[in-house]
Amino acid sequence: MTLWLLSLIIFFGAQILPGNVGRAILGPLADQAVVDNLNHELGTDRPLIEQYTDWLSGLFRGDMGDSLVYGRPVSSLLVDALGKSLKLAAVAFVIVVPLAILGGVIAALRRDTAVDRVITLGGLSLTVVPEFVTGIILILVFGLWLDVLPVSANAPPGSDPLTQLKYLILPALTLVILLFGYIARITRAGTIESLDSDYARTAFLKGLPRRTVVRRHVLRNSLLPTIAVIATQTGYLIGGLVVIETLFNYPGMGRLIFTAAQQKDFPLLEASVLVVGMVFLIATLLADIAYSLLNPRIRYAATE
């Protein structure tokens, strides 16, 4: 239902943009008659409702159609881009999630000390720096000046996974810098709230060692908001990295959606947005499952 609404919004939203596909393919200088002809061949001159239902019925048969501009199946373009986006997101997540949670917990435990201020203020300052600034600084330092890491994210064809990983480090680091402050801050807030709660106080009063309290009682509860935040970032990581993908010349989903919207390549645009929507839904679902694992109360509520 959500995805269907999304597809409707994208479809009719895209119609507001100026230009048309035939013009995008043939260029501003082509004869209008030839453009009309091409639009007719592509079927983009039909009524919107007809185009939409046609596409929808194709989708139910598992056929996402052909890209109007690239003249090849949408699925092949999507698989390439999605694979790239998932790889980058995975590398970024693997680095940022443990780091940010650790940072957040430490900041909470050392509340109002210098360590706390460095983590919260530092993280927050880095978060507000736009990604193209951090990206360029990282490229200049590690790519050009120290010359230890590649500046483009796309490994040469046929590279082994380790080489691919090396190519992904700089863009992933850019994301880490962007996300660290945000996730750490939420973790810190959650941890502090749990530390101040009645059950934590009871546990301390019971005489349990601090470490056990944190691990068994505090973390479980404090991570709930963190998980929600991470899940909401997934959509951005998969479909919203236009700037980073551009800077590191990495043809992922962000740029695929961006150019499809520019060129009014409707089948490609719809399918890519839907895929990102799906990734988002799956991430939310996984977050819900993680929630219930960490917090039995939710599980009980569901079965009642």
């Binding site: 030839v34 090849r72 360029i136």
Partner: protein
């Protein structure tokens, strides 16, 4: 000496009237040696022959011989290795008929080849055609084709393939991009095979520059098999070229290996080629600096300043006819009075603009499309200089001393927004209030038809024009009364007549004298401001040699290799 003269006479006896006319002009000193060589090659004389006559007849004022195969980087290259070249991603599916962007054409011409290659000095280098010559009024051009060439699927290349290719390109029903060049001169059926290795182009109207229209300048004109369906090109990357596609990933790049059956022995020099697509200039510049590419086809001064100062990078500067046109609607206020248009052109400090926007890497324009790079340009027409006082006087004479205002529409690309601001500031000196409206490209171009396009309807606008080997398109579409891109809505029968004269003129002397009249007329009318023709900049790593770009956006890597 007698022997030399005898040989010259023997040669001249075999040449046709037009060719002898060029030789006469050269001996009379009316054209330079360099122009003679260029002109001679356009007419189909081979370079050794032209050079021989040039040396024997010794006229002309030019000094450089101009026989080198374009501007390339020097040094001796080793064979082998993989060249990694950066270009922009092709905007659409790769159909040779429809490709209309630099990314697309730079890919087309790796596995595909033209009859001739228009090099950086606008000399036509033989590729699939070995020689060509016109009839007496340049209405029929006969091309002799190279023998022993094979397409990449093994079928031999013959005259019928040229016929098939140009019948497709010149067919209005295909909507091909080449129509803008061939329209009015070549129709389907006009290309005829005389025998397997000879093709005759029968033109609708005489054209002294016709060989350019079937050269690499008309970048869609890669020669494909006679019955080839260009819509399937992406599957095979068909052609006779030095590189054979092994893998194509849209938006990412193309991998090639050397074509083992290539007609020129020992070429290409390298074993493999990786064309990598960069959607963003900054990423491309960083990639060559960071050692992930060896060549970057094009970069701009504003985006690639770092490359100009990098000791590990060699920059190839190719003069070009690429420019921006600032149109002023001659049928709308405040520009109906030509004095206001002249005043706008007079307040621009062109040297400062060129220094500011291009670090000086640009020729200065004189408000007509005859770029200094074109040999037919009449350079004796005085350059329009900055003159604020005269501009103020002109505005006062036009009755607008109280000030005037106009909206300048353009799009956000290249240096155009900066240029718009410079124009806006300059106009203030003569009481002009210019309001800027800068959108994205598709909003600016709209449908590309009158009434549906800011480009064609705005009272004032800035439009980018790419390089062309001859000024014909620039003279026609944006300026002729019937022109389809006439943003200035300029309608002047005298001008139209002069352009017709220019196009049908076969010998350089009459082209040049007509050019002079056109330049004077446009300077006076000033429907469009042409203030610069910027250079085409290509970057290579300093260990890479033999790279030959064209100002059009081709990248000839046949002789490219690494020095140890």
């Amino acid at each position: 000496m007698d022997e030399t003269q005898r040989r010259v006479d023997a040669i001249r006896a075999q040449r046709n009237e037009i060719e002898n006319h060029v030789i006469d002009e050269y001996t009379a000193g009316r054209i330079s040696r360099r122009e003679f060589i260029r002109r001679g090659t356009v007419l189909g004389m081979s370079i050794p022959l032209v050079s021989f006559i040039a040396a024997a007849c010794g006229g002309g004022g030019g000094t450089s011989a101009g026989t080198s195969p374009g501007q390339t980087t020097g040094g001796t290259a080793n064979a082998g290795g993989t060249i990694r070249a950066g270009t922009s991603p092709p905007a659409t599916k790769l159909n040779p008929l429809l490709v209309q962007d630099q990314g697309g054409l730079s890919v087309l011409s790796q596995s595909g080849e033209y009859l001739t290659f228009s090099d950086s000095k606008l000399n036509l280098q033989p590729v699939l055609a070995e020689t060509f010559e016109p009839n007496d009024d340049a209405s029929v051009w006969t091309f002799k084709l190279r023998q022993g060439v094979k397409f990449q699927d093994g079928t031999p290349f013959v005259a019928n393939d040229v016929v098939g290719t140009f019948d497709r390109l010149s067919n209005p029903k295909t909507g091909g991009n080449a129509l803008s060049a061939l329209g009015g001169y070549l129709k389907p059926g006009g290309t005829q095979a005389v025998d397997d290795t000879t093709v005759a182009f029968h033109l609708e109207a005489p054209n002294g520059n016709f060989p350019y229209l079937v050269s690499s300048d008309n970048y869609n004109a890669i020669i494909l098999p006679a019955d080839f369906d260009p819509d399937t090109w992406e599957q095979s990357f068909m052609g006779t070229g030095p590189w054979k596609m092994t893998k194509y990933t849209p938006k990412e790049g193309v991998s090639y290996t050397k074509n083992p059956d290539y007609w020129s022995p020992n070429q290409p020099l390298a074993d493999a080629l990786e064309m990598k697509f960069f959607a963003d200039e900054q990423a491309a510049v960083l990639a060559i600096q960071g050692g992930q590419t060896d060549v970057q086809l094009q970069f701009s001064v504003s985006g690639g300043q770092a490359l100009l100062n990098d000791p590990n990078v060699t920059v190839i500067k190719t003069r070009s006819a690429a420019h921006r046109q600032v149109h002023m609607r001659t049928d709308m206020e405040p520009f109906t009075d030509k004095r206001v248009r002249q005043a706008m052109a007079l307040v621009l400090d062109r040297q400062a603009i060129v220094d500011g926007l291009f670090d000086g890497l640009s020729d200065i324009g004189n408000d007509h499309p005859f770029a200094p790079v074109f040999p037919s340009t009449d350079t004796s027409v005085a350059q329009r200089e900055l003159d604020v006082e005269q501009a103020k006087q002109l505005v006062a004479d036009a009755g607008m001393s109280g000030g005037f205002s106009a909206k300048l529409e353009t799009w956000k690309g290249f240096e155009i927004p900066d240029y718009a601001v410079l124009i806006q500031n300059a106009a203030k000196e003569i009481g002009g209030t210019i309001e800027l409206s800068i959108t994205d490209a598709s909003t600016y171009y709209g449908d590309g038809t009158y009434g549906n396009s800011r480009w064609l309807d705005s009272v004032m606008g800035i439009t980018e024009y790419g390089h062309r080997g001859v000024p014909n398109v620039f003279l026609d579409a944006p300026l002729k009364s019937t022109g389809t891109w006439n943003s200035a809505h300029f309608k002047n029968p005298t001008y139209d007549g002069l352009v017709d004269d220019y196009v049908s003129a076969v010998d350089l002397q009459s082209q040049k004298s007509t050019a002079g009249q056109i330049e004077q007329l446009l300077l006076d009318e000033t429907p469009i401001i042409f203030s610069y023709f910027y250079y085409f900049l290509t970057a290579t790593k300093s260990n890479v040699v033999g790279v030959e770009p064209s100002a059009m956006g081709h990248l000839n890597l046949r002789e490219t290799g690494f020095v140890s």
